[in-house]
């Protein structure tokens, strides 16, 4: 029997909080470079999960100081990585649109990421994870993980 896989949801929530906060600041101060920075962090975190800057802040600062308590649950990390990759892609598109002068489109894409991350953070609904499991059900290659089973 395969070992139960576990994910620390506090790390994910910290990551989302940083994304929401930084994109909001970028919009308020009109700093497209900050959008680019968030996109780079998200994409690096998708490719190398251990290198996610905001999660490292959680692991090395917030958790040891007791500012955020761990919330480790049985879960698959892949859907969350996919969600981050999706968010990172939209954030990168937002940055490119802002650079190209399509200001309204750029900020609309940034807002879309803010709203989806907020839905995940405050309402517990992960759009990227839902898409991942939908693709798994449709048999899409690379989407191999089914929702984990929990013994009752």
């Amino acid at each position: 029997m395969a070992a139960e896989r576990r994910v620390d949801h506090s790390a994910i929530r910290t990551n989302q909080s940083f994304i929401i906060a930084l994109l909001s600041v970028a919009f308020i101060l009109n700093v497209p470079l900050l959008v680019g920075f968030v996109a780079v962090v998200m994409i690096i975190g998708t490719v190398w999960p251990g290198a996610t800057l905001f999660m490292r802040v959680y692991r090395h600062i917030l958790r040891p100081l007791g500012l955020v308590r761990p919330d480790v649950v049985t879960d698959n990390p892949e859907p969350h990585r996919f969600a981050q990759g999706l968010g990172g892609s939209f954030t990168a598109l937002s940055f490119l649109a802002l650079l190209a002068g399509y200001t309204a489109l750029g900020w609309a894409l940034a807002w879309m990421v803010i709203v989806l991350a907020s839905l995940n953070l405050f309402a517990g609904w992960c759009a990227g994870c839902t898409i991942y499991y939908l693709l798994n059900r449709l048999g899409a290659p690379g989407f191999d993980r089914q929702p984990p089973k929990v013994s009752e």
Binding site: S24, F27, V73, P147
Partner: protein
């Protein structure tokens, strides 16, 4: 300054939209609840959690269901939990205005929906909501909070 104002307006609009959605959902559930077959087997006088899930929902399996098991273990007869598979019973999900899973409704002792949670509802949150709906009712002769349990009939 303009951008701060714009940010506040957009964020407020989203927050307002979410709050209105919750109100709409509670009203819709309240219209359905008195006649809903889902609730026909409920014991009267006991607060209820109506829990919408689906077999393909990971947080339903890994988080919400264990939390509800813990809630049931802690409150025993003081709470009743109705689980609905939203895929098997899409009509019920529609009647209750459910558009994502997990969604949990907290019903008071008269079966009126009082709270709705989108996404995973934590144990402390559910207990707080059940406490709140228990406090809405006049205390029964059997002392609703006896032994830390709610609405013991």
């Amino acid at each position: 300054m303009d951008r701060v104002l714009l940010f506040v307006v957009i964020a407020s609009l989203f927050a307002l939209g979410f709050a209105l959605l919750r109100r709409w959902q509670l009203r819709r559930a309240a219209q359905s609840a008195p006649y809903d077959a889902l609730l026909s087997a409920l014991r009267p006088g006991v607060p209820t959690v109506v829990y919408f899930a689906s077999p393909h929902c990971a947080p339903c399996r890994t988080q919400q269901k264990p939390i509800l098991h813990a809630l049931q273990a802690e409150l025993g007869e003081g709470v009743q939990i109705v689980e609905v598979n939203a895929l098997d019973d899409p009509a019920a999900a529609n009647r209750w205005g459910v558009f994502s899973v997990p969604t949990t409704f907290i019903l008071d002792r008269e079966g009126k929906p009082r709270e709705v949670n989108h996404g995973v509802a934590r144990l402390a949150q559910l207990k707080r909501q059940l406490q709140k709906v228990a406090a809405l009712q006049p205390p029964s002769k059997s002392s609703p909070r006896q032994g830390g349990r709610f609405g013991t009939p």
